[in-house]
C-alpha cells in the first residue's frame, strides 16, 4: 500500500492557538500539535491536497522527507489525514461499515440537534403555526413509510429483502398513531388530505428514491433517522421528555398530540429495532470502496434532508402560518 500522497480531510478544521500550538478538529475529535511538529504541519498545510507527493512537499518547504513521512503517518493514524494512493482495492465487511457509519452519523446529526427550532419550542417562542406544523410534518413524515418502506421492500436485494419486508410490515401503520393525536384538533378527512411542506416531501421522496436504487444505502440512511427516534437510552429519554413537558406547558392545546408522539416512541421501542441495522450489516457481502461511498453519500444526504425537514418547519411556518395545509380546490385560489 502506497502512503505518499497525503490529504487533509476536507471537513477538518485547523485552529491556530498561542505559543506555536495548533489543533486539528475533525468529527468531534481534536488533534493538538505544538512546537516543531506544529511548525512543520503549518508549512506542509498548503500542499496537503492529495496531489503532491511527500518528496515534492519536502522539496518545496525545504524539509527532510523523513520528518514529513513520520508526521504524516502519525496524523494518518488519528484519521485527520488520509493518503490518496492508499487504496489497495480491499473490500470492507458489513460490520466494519457499521462502525464507520456510527462515527459519521454522530457527527452529521449534530447540526440537527443544534437547530434553533428546539429552543424556540422549549422557551415558548415558537408560534402556533410552527408548533402545529411540527406535529403535522411529523405525521406526514411517518405516514411517508407507506411510500419509501414499500418501495424499499419491493426493490430489495435478496439479502436485504427479509429486513425491509419486516420493516414495512411493522411500521406502515405508525402514521395512524400521529393522526389520532391530530384528530383532537382537526377533522380526520382534512388530516388525510393535508399537504406536507416541500421540505417534508423532500425527505420522503429522497427516502423513496434511495429505496428504489440502493437497498443497503437506503437502510443506512434510514438508520440515521432511527437514531434520532428510539434510542431507549436514559439520557436521551430525559431530554425528549423535557421537550414534551415544555411543549405541554407553553402550548396546552397540543396535549393529545404529545400523547401520540410518546405512544409512537413507545411503539418504536417495543419493536426492538435497535439491532436491526447491525444484523443487516452482518448479512451483506463485503463492500467495495465505491459501494461504501455511495451508501455514505445517501446517509450524509439523509442528514441534510433531516436538517431541511426541521428548517422547513421553522422557516416556512414562520412566513406562511396557515395550518392545516388544506389542498387546493377549484375555488380556493
Amino acid at each position: 500500500m502506497q502512503m505518499q500522497l497525503p490529504v487533509l480531510k476536507r471537513t477538518a478544521k485547523v485552529v491556530h492557538g498561542k505559543n506555536d500550538k495548533l489543533a486539528i478538529q475533525y468529527m468531534g475529535q481534536e488533534v493538538t500539535l505544538e512546537g516543531a511538529a506544529a511548525k512543520l504541519f503549518d508549512k506542509m498545510l498548503p500542499y496537503l491536497d492529495g496531489n503532491t507527493g511527500i518528496g515534492g512537499i519536502a522539496e518545496r518547504i525545504s524539509e527532510s522527507p523523513k520528518r514529513l513521512q513520520s508526521l504524516t503517518q502519525q496524523l494518518g493514524q488519528t484519521g485527520v489525514l488520509a493518503f490518496k494512493d492508499s487504496d489497495s482495492g480491499e473490500r470492507i465487511t458489513g460490520e466494519q461499515f457499521y462502525e464507520i457509519h456510527r462515527t459519521y452519523v454522530n457527527s452529521w446529526l449534530q447540526p440537527i440537534y443544534d437547530h434553533p427550532f428546539w429552543e424556540k419550542v422549549v422557551t415558548g417562542k415558537a408560534t402556533r403555526g410552527q408548533v402545529l406544523g411540527f406535529a403535522f410534518e411529523k405525521y406526514h413524515y411517518i405516514e411517508g413509510a407507506f411510500e419509501h418502506m414499500a418501495i424499499a421492500a419491493a426493490n430489495a436485494t435478496p439479502e436485504m429483502m427479509p429486513h425491509l419486508a419486516r420493516h414495512f410490515i411493522e411500521e406502515y401503520n405508525h402514521g395512524d398513531i400521529y393522526r389520532k393525536g391530530l384528530q383532537s384538533l382537526f377533522p380526520n378527512d382534512l388530516i388525510l388530505r393535508a399537504q406536507p411542506l416541500p421540505s417534508t416531501r423532500a425527505l420522503v421522496n429522497f427516502l423513496s428514491e434511495s429505496a428504489a436504487r440502493n437497498s443497503f444505502g437506503y437502510y443506512a440512511g434510514n438508520e440515521l433517522l432511527q437514531m434520532t427516534e428510539n434510542t431507549g437510552e436514559e439520557k436521551d429519554n430525559d431530554s425528549i421528555n423535557d421537550f414534551y413537558d415544555a411543549m405541554r406547558k407553553h402550548y396546552p392545546y397540543t396535549d393529545k398530540v404529545i400523547d401520540a408522539f410518546i405512544a409512537h416512541t413507545n411503539a418504536d421501542q417495543k419493536l426492538g429495532h435497535e439491532n436491526v441495522f447491525l444484523e443487516m450489516c452482518q448479512s451483506i457481502p463485503p463492500l467495495t470502496r465505491a459501494e461504501v461511498d455511495d451508501a455514505l453519500n445517501i446517509v450524509r444526504s439523509m442528514a441534510e434532508h433531516l436538517y431541511l425537514f426541521m428548517d422547513g418547519i421553522d422557516t416556512f411556518y414562520a412566513r406562511f402560518p396557515t395550518i392545516p395545509r388544506a389542498p387546493c380546490d377549484l375555488l380556493s385560489e
Binding site: P198, A202, E304, L330, S332
Partner: protein, 333 residues
C-alpha cells in the same frame, strides 16, 4: 353528528396581508384586494383559523361569543367579500381549457409568492454577494441538468399518444440546456470538473424528485408544474434587470450572463409556455377532485421554489461551506 364549519365553507388563499396605518389590513387575493378594519380583520382571522377545525357552526359561534345567526351573517359578509366560499359551490367538473383559464388567472399571484423570498431584494440591493450569485447559478445548473430525471419519466407515464408526443418534444428541446449554466459558471472561474462532479443542495434535488413524483402520479399534474417553471422564464422584462443589476453590483463578467440570456431566449423561441394549453386542449372533462389535485401540484411547486431560494441563500451565505459541493468520499471526508 353536526357538520363542521369546514364541511360547509372553504377559505380562499390570501397571498399578502398589508397592515394599513391605523385602519386595518389589506388582503390580496388572486383577483381582488379586500380591505378590513381592525375589528373585521380580527373576526376574519378567528373564523379562518376555525374553518378547518372540528367544531360545528354552533360551537364556533359560542367560542367567538356570538349566536349562530350572527356568525351566519359574518360568514355571508366574508363570502360576499370573496374571502370564504361555500364548499357546495365548487363545480363538479370542468374542461381542460377551463382549467387553463383558471391557471392563467392565478399564475401571477403564485409567481409573486414564489419570488417573495427576501433573497431577491437582498441581491438587487447590493446586500448579496458574487458568491451567492454563483451559488444560485450552481443550483440552477443542477436543476436544469436534473430535467433529465423527470422529463423522460413524464413521457413514460403519459398514456395518450398526443400528450406523450408533446412531452417528448419538450424533452428533446430541453434536455441539454444545463450546458448554458456550465458555460456561465466557467466564466465565473469554476472548473468544469468541480461543477459536473458536485452534488446539489437537498432542495435542488427535491425539486426534481417532486417533478418525478408528479410525472408518476398524473401527467396533468406534471404539466402544470412544468408550466409553472416555464412561467418563471417568459418575461424578459422581469429577469433582465435582475441579471443586469447583479452584474454591476458583483462585478460579473458579461460571459457569465450571456449564456443565461441565450437560454432564456431559446425558451421563449420554443414557446414552451403554450404547452400546457396545448395539452389541456386534449382533455374534455376533468372531475373537480382531479382538477384540485392538479392545481395543488402547481401550488406546491411554487412553495418548492420559495424554499429552494431559502436554502440557496442560507447555504451560500456561509463562507465556510464548500462551493461547489463535492460528493462524499470516505477517503477525503
Amino acid at each position: 353528528m353536526a357538520t363542521t364549519l369546514g364541511q360547509e365553507f372553504g377559505v380562499r388563499r390570501v397571498y399578502d396581508a398589508t397592515p394599513k396605518k391605523g385602519v386595518g389590513v389589506s388582503l390580496r387575493l388572486s383577483d381582488r384586494e379586500v380591505e378590513l378594519g381592525p375589528r373585521e380583520f380580527d373576526l376574519y382571522e378567528k373564523v379562518a383559523e376555525r374553518v378547518p377545525g372540528i367544531r360545528s357552526q354552533k360551537e364556533v359561534a359560542a367560542e367567538l361569543g356570538m349566536d349562530e345567526a350572527r356568525l351566519g351573517r359574518l360568514l355571508a359578509a366574508l363570502q360576499s367579500a370573496g374571502l370564504v366560499y361555500r364548499a357546495d359551490a365548487v363545480p363538479a367538473t370542468l374542461s381542460g381549457v377551463e382549467l387553463h383559464t383558471l391557471f392563467n388567472k392565478v399564475l401571477p399571484s403564485w409567481l409573486d409568492e414564489a419570488f417573495s423570498h427576501p433573497f431577491w431584494e437582498r441581491m438587487t440591493s447590493g446586500r448579496g454577494s458574487r458568491r451567492m450569485y454563483s451559488g444560485w447559478l450552481i443550483e440552477l445548473y443542477h436543476y436544469t441538468r436534473n430535467a433529465n430525471r423527470h422529463m423522460p419519466l413524464s413521457c413514460a407515464h403519459a398514456h395518450e399518444k398526443a400528450i406523450k408526443n408533446m412531452r417528448a418534444k419538450h424533452y428533446a428541446e430541453e434536455w441539454n440546456h444545463y450546458h448554458y449554466f456550465l458555460k456561465a459558471l466557467k466564466a465565473l472561474g469554476f472548473s468544469e470538473d468541480s461543477v459536473t462532479k458536485s452534488v446539489p443542495l437537498p432542495m435542488s434535488l427535491a425539486l426534481s424528485n417532486f417533478m418525478r413524483q408528479a410525472a408518476r402520479d398524473d401527467i396533468l399534474a406534471y404539466s402544470i408544474c412544468s408550466a409553472v417553471l416555464e412561467g418563471t422564464t417568459v418575461d424578459r422584462g422581469a429577469y433582465n434587470p435582475y441579471y443586469e443589476t447583479c452584474a454591476k453590483l458583483y462585478d460579473l463578467p458579461p460571459e457569465s450572463i450571456a449564456p443565461i440570456y441565450a437560454h432564456l431566449d431559446l425558451d421563449v423561441q420554443y414557446q414552451h409556455s403554450d404547452l400546457f394549453l396545448d395539452i389541456l386542449s386534449k382533455v374534455d372533462s376533468i372531475p373537480a377532485a382531479r382538477a384540485g389535485r392538479i392545481l395543488d401540484y402547481g401550488h406546491q411547486l411554487i412553495e418548492h421554489i420559495w424554499l429552494w431560494t431559502d436554502s440557496i441563500e442560507k447555504y451560500y451565505d456561509a463562507e465556510s461551506n464548500p462551493m461547489p459541493r463535492p460528493a462524499f468520499s470516505k477517503l477525503l471526508d
